[in-house]
Amino acid sequence: MKIQTVLGISLIGATLFAGSANADVRDIRIGVDVPYEPMEFRTPDGELTGFDIELGNALCAEIGIQCEWVVQGWDGIIPGLMARKYDAIMSSMTINDDRRKQVLFSDPYFTPPSAWFAPASSDIEVPYPQTLEGKTIGVQRGTLQDNYVTDNFGDVADVNRYATADDMVLDMDAGRLDIVFLDFPVGKATLIDSNAGNYKVIGEMITEPKEYFGDGFGIAFRQRDEELANAFNEALATLKDNGTYEDIYSDYFGAK
């Protein structure tokens, strides 16, 4: 073998393994479902942004790896992780026991309440099964809000399930829905902030019972990728200590 060839091959080898500060953790791809404002969405010029995206990028920078975002529809997001289309999911995914059977979660990085939203003219005061009898409730298909509404209100009310939060807002604008049940930050951004005065929050923030609402949002990994999950947990702890987490949080939700 010529000396140039040997040199060339070792050079390629060196470049391949360079650039990752943490030897155990390689560059990864992260799956995300957009739009889900303000957690993940696109700016008018098409850039991905949002709380998850900024926090995810900060975590990757802290670990010292490159992260690439892969957009994937919500109802195929866990199968996509299993099929190795990406290595992690950071997409407002609530940690719960059902999902724990499938994936390995990081420590929770955010705990959002869910809330009911209705048109400003709505006369619903407290959403109980009795007060929502015969009403049409909108939820996003396959979300924990879907499970909660289906089990607690499915017998008395019509439940309309949507593929995206956008379709649901469109139908709420059209007057086809009496009330929707959403993650509070998402509902606030898409319904309250962008349609001043047309919508209001009904009742209190809902985070109980735990069997539905889980322990907050986590980053999901394949079960065997424990090292990767540990790296993210350490980075998350560091960002919370050094104030970076606080900065990103207040950019999106105001001061704590």
Binding site: D75, P79, D98, G142, N160, R161, L170, D171, A174, R176
Partner: protein, 243 residues
């Protein structure tokens, strides 16, 4: 009925996905799918017959609008038509205050309208072809008997055209059943909607969709047998003799 429920419950005892609850979703989905497809096919058929006759008219002002209608509805995806009719109409100002909103508010009627218009366009073309291929001799014979245009249509052209159109129309019915799977994008809980619900709830794509595929297969075979029976009855005179 009581014992049937217990029997099913026993069968499903070791099963976390197919409980009585999820089976009832599939059951409701089956009803919705059958209703939606059956209604749109019946209404589409009723619309298609006069349209097919008009499509072959000598007058441009009858022929052209029907040609245009078929061209648009056969030239665009059914999904796009469904989106336009369900989500598009809400952008018409003030539609919520008119009587139209009573029928357009729930997703069933918009889906029915989209499916009906779509299948009517295809069926029109199927019938037009069949009418056009009527043997000249039959028409000349009818004229020679002094039949009026209407009598000729009723007694000679349409009955034989329907027979010729039957195999192609059978295909259209099956295509319509399969096309109805997109109804779930406008929140209708049809068979596919039920499967997507079970899939999203249990993260079990294989179980949810294989089960629903089996139901669609059963429906398709029932339709196939119905049309085979009809063809046997109505096209008996075309069979080689002695069989």
């Amino acid at each position: 009925m009581e014992s049937l429920t217990t029997w099913i419950e026993g069968l499903l005892a070791d099963n976390t996905i197919f409980t009585l609850q999820t089976l009832s979703y599939y059951g409701e989905g089956l009803t919705t799918t059958v209703q939606l497809v059956f209604l749109s096919l019946i209404i589409g058929l009723v619309l298609a017959v006069p349209l097919a006759i008009g499509r072959g008219s000598k007058h441009q002002w009858i022929k052209m609008p029907i040609f245009f209608y078929c061209y648009v509805f056969r030239g665009t995806p059914l999904l796009v038509q469904l989106y336009l009719i369900y989500y598009g109409v809400v952008f018409i100002d003030g539609i919520q205050d008119t009587w139209l909103w009573v029928i357009l508010e729930k997703p069933f009627v918009p889906a029915l309208i989209a499916f009906t218009l779509n299948t009517a366009a295809y069926t029109t073309e199927i019938f037009r072809g069949a009418i056009k291929s009527t043997a000249r001799g039959e028409i000349e014979a009818a004229r020679a008997y002094g039949m009026s245009w209407w009598l000729m249509m009723r007694r000679i052209v349409l009955p034989s055209a329907f027979r010729r159109a039957l195999p192609a129309y059978g295909n259209e019915v099956i295509f319509m059943l399969h096309a109805s799977a997109i109804a779930s994008v406008v929140t209708i809980m049809d068979l596919t909607g039920a499967a997507r619900f079970v899939y999203a709830r249990f993260y079990a794509p294989f179980d949810a969709f294989l089960f629903v595929a089996a139901i669609y297969l059963c429906l398709t075979f029932s339709i196939l047998y119905l049309f085979r029976y009809l063809e046997k009855r109505l096209l008996a005179h075309l069979k080689p003799s002695g069989q």
